[in-house]
């Protein structure tokens, strides 16, 4: 990556903390966001757990005005945007509004709204739907509402690529800056916790607890599926030059990015992990970083059997005999699988690692799996100086993305 893009602001809402300081603190302490689901009834289901943001009070962050008619995903994203701009000490004004861009990854962010809108039409008849709720049914609704809220008048983009959405959105945002379509970009992602999404993952047998104990334990022998979670995070991205000019605090630098789709099958992991290896290699090449220079890998491992083996295999493939030396951990052991938001949450976590000098733990690691035998930073965080780190995101339908972040 020729132009130097830096992170100068962070806004994050997660099941383990709201705001970057609380989030980083919780990661360091190894706090888990997984608890019994409260947002809807699970009594008739085999599964009961989720990683909800239980203390979410959008009014406290945004003020009470203008929130009526907005769905949860949108409110989560608006809060992340507000926190990120405040953190970056930025204000969007009439004069600078066109220099801001927005690029957000979400795939199911509008699912609840789409479903409820349609159900209302099916139940009461099409004349009785609430017209104010129709705009929430488009997938680009949360990012567009963010633009409206902030009066951000540059490009506003939405990316849907499933598990890799928010990393892909960050890359799209970086391209907006490099192609001079925007000077500062709010890049990130959002996914909300709702019955439709939860039951959807349940129905396709993706949740832990359907075929084994309801545990969130990446790389552990007992793993049998994901615990679904929610979250929203936004990074303020700009060129190093722009950041220095305005005297911004720089948290980290984005050194490289790689993405590789491997055509295989819908909702099935390709067992060789060809696409993930390729994405990691592309990212390292883009960053001009050799594998041995990487201090930490923020894994996409989500406690499904196949994904964690594939990721372990990819690290072994790239690191060879040194694979055992690199620290790998799965923040999803604390945050659950937040789908489209997972990439940016991992990026925020890794920025915390660089800033605070720690590697977050992989929680609930107890029983070793012979095919997952690397250093997963089991159960408690580790002090370490992180100069360069890799953030992985990948999913079963073939999408793989990887970002290199550095000091």
């Amino acid at each position: 990556m020729q132009d130097k893009i830096v992170i100068t602001g962070i806004g994050v809402l997660s099941s383990i903390g709201i705001g970057k300081d609380a989030f980083w603190q919780a990661l360091q302490e190894g706090k888990s966001g997984v608890k019994p689901v409260t947002l809807f009834d699970t009594s008739k289901l085999k599964v009961k757990m989720g990683a909800e943001i239980s203390d979410f009070n959008p009014g406290a962050i945004l003020g009470e005005k203008g929130l009526r008619n907005l769905d949860r995903a949108t409110k989560l994203l608006l809060c992340a945007g507000k926190l990120a701009l405040d953190d970056a000490k930025l204000e969007i004004t009439e004069e600078n509004s066109t220099s801001f861009g927005i690029s957000i990854g979400t795939t199911l962010g509008s699912l609840w709204s789409i479903s409820e809108f349609d159900k209302s039409a099916l139940r009461d008849g099409p004349h009785f739907v609430n017209p104010a709720e129709f705009p929430n049914t488009v997938i680009n609704s949360p990012p567009s509402q963010l633009a409206i809220r902030l009066k951000s008048k540059g490009p506003c983009a939405t990316i849907s690529s499933g598990f890799t959405s928010s990393l892909d959105a960050i890359k799209y945002g970086i391209d907006l800056i490099r192609n001079k379509r925007a000077q500062i970009v709010l890049g990130g992602g959002v996914e909300e916790f709702c019955e439709q999404t939860y039951l959807g993952f349940y129905k396709v047998n993706f949740l832990a607890g359907v075929k084994g104990p309801e545990l969130n334990c990446p790389f552990d022998q007992r793993r049998n599926g994901i615990i679904f979670g929610e979250g929203s995070a936004i990074l303020v991205l700009e060129s190093e030059e722009s950041a220095k000019k305005r005297g911004a605090n720089i948290y980290a630098r984005i050194l490289g990015f790689g993405t590789y789709f491997y055509p295989y099958a819908i909702n099935k992991y390709e067992p060789q992990g060809y696409g993930l290896k390729k994405a990691m290699r592309l990212a390292l090449d883009d960053a001009s970083v050799a594998p041995f220079e990487v201090d930490y890998i923020s894994a996409a491992a989500n406690s499904t059997r196949d994904a964690d083996i594939i990721e372990t295999g990819a690290v072994k493939d790239l690191w060879g005999a040194k694979a055992g030396k690199v620290a790998i951990s799965a923040t999803k052991s604390m945050l659950g699988e937040t789908f489209s938001a997972s990439g940016v949450l991992a990026a925020v976590a890794t920025t915390g690692s660089i800033q605070k000098g720690f590697i977050p733990a992989t929680l609930n690691y107890k029983e070793k799996d012979s095919s997952c035998d690397l250093d997963y930073v089991a159960n408690s965080a580790r002090k370490a100086k992180i100069n360069k780190a890799l953030v992985n995101a990948f999913g079963p339908s073939g999408s793989n993305s990887c970002m290199v972040i550095g000091e």
Binding site: S97, T98, I102, T107, L108, I114, S115, F117, D118, K119, A121, L122, G125, P126, H127, V129, F134, P135, T137, V138, I139, N140, S141, S144, Q145, A147, I148, L150, K151, S152, K153, G154, P155, C156, A157, T158, I159, S160, S161, G162, S165, D168, Y172, D175, N179, R181, G200, K203, V204, N205, T259, Y260, F261, P263, I266, N267, G275, S397, G398, S399
Partner: protein, 404 residues
Amino acid sequence: MSRRVAVTGLGVVSSIGIGKDEFWKNLIQGKTGISKVESFNPAPYGRSFGGEVKNFDPLKFMLNREVKRTGRASQLAIAAAELTLTDAKIESSMLDPDKSAVLIGTTMGETSVFEIVNKAWFEKGLEEVEPFMVGRTTANLLSVNLGIHLKIGGINLVIPTACAAGNYAIGYGYDLIKEGRVDFAICGGADAFSRIAFTGFARLYAMSPDICQPFDKNRKGMLVGEGAAILILEPLEKAKERGATIYAEILGYGLSCDASHMTIPSEDGITRCMQNALKETGVSPEEVNYISAHGTGTVQNDLNECAAIKNVLGEATKKVAASSIKSMLGHCMGAASGIEAISCCLAVSEDIMPPTINYQTPDPDCDIDCVPNEARRAKVNIALNNAYAFGGNNSCVVFKKYAG
């Protein structure tokens, strides 16, 4: 690296034709694709017309087992991609996965499957919903299904920026080719006819009871349509080397966000978007010959679009033609700007401007030359493709005639 970007393949599935030749022939004849809605019973909506693609047989483009595991939007996209590859004389084996991108814009994603799932869930309960159906509902599957069908790896994204999505996908494809990151971009938009979109537009009173009449004083609103359009973009030099047909060159594009209202387009936002497009491409207002207008046929859209065109082109507005092919197709959501991009490519390569049909009564507030009712033979060197969206996500792509 900065490379020139050529459009070398056009594939379209629309209510007035499948494949670019049939589409273009009907487009310049001013044929309408609007008919009575058949995919569901429209009676309770008080509106009954739309732009469904009625003679689409997915089995002509894919295997039966693929048809079973994909929704209609994916099928439309796959068909359009097959058509565009044939048109460009490209075998999928020519597509180096390290140098290819599949980029699909959409509004509603895989809505036909979702609507079946949601209805079954609501009416019969979750137990009655087929798990494999649930797994087929997400929007990201449009590009995934296309990638799997063509066995193309590489960059693969869905850009769901609502009704400007096709343009966003084409624009990003342009960026990737220009920078040398890929040598082939397979990009465009797809949307299936949607009960949910129909419900929403009917309820917003934005939908016409019969015909779509962009820029007409008595225009009564938009109509929902469906379709898919996929373009192939290549570096101009490489396209020349392989002897490809070059329909048009893409000079660049402009984006903006209204940041004002989710559903009402703003004159300011559209103006800035077109200005950005001209600024990036170095095209002056006097050089613009043709605009494929967003032209939905709603009072607000057409008013704001005409005002924006005048803001941007000034005096040169008098010499420019701006027609809306939505008068024939209805609004094909995320596919719309992809289909309109194909129309722009053919306009610059053939020197023909497609008409705005159903134009009867001039509106003094929309006093632009909308190529009323009949296609026009005229030199088209530069064409702009305007597309706006819910959320105020505006886009404008600039096409130029390729003279060899």
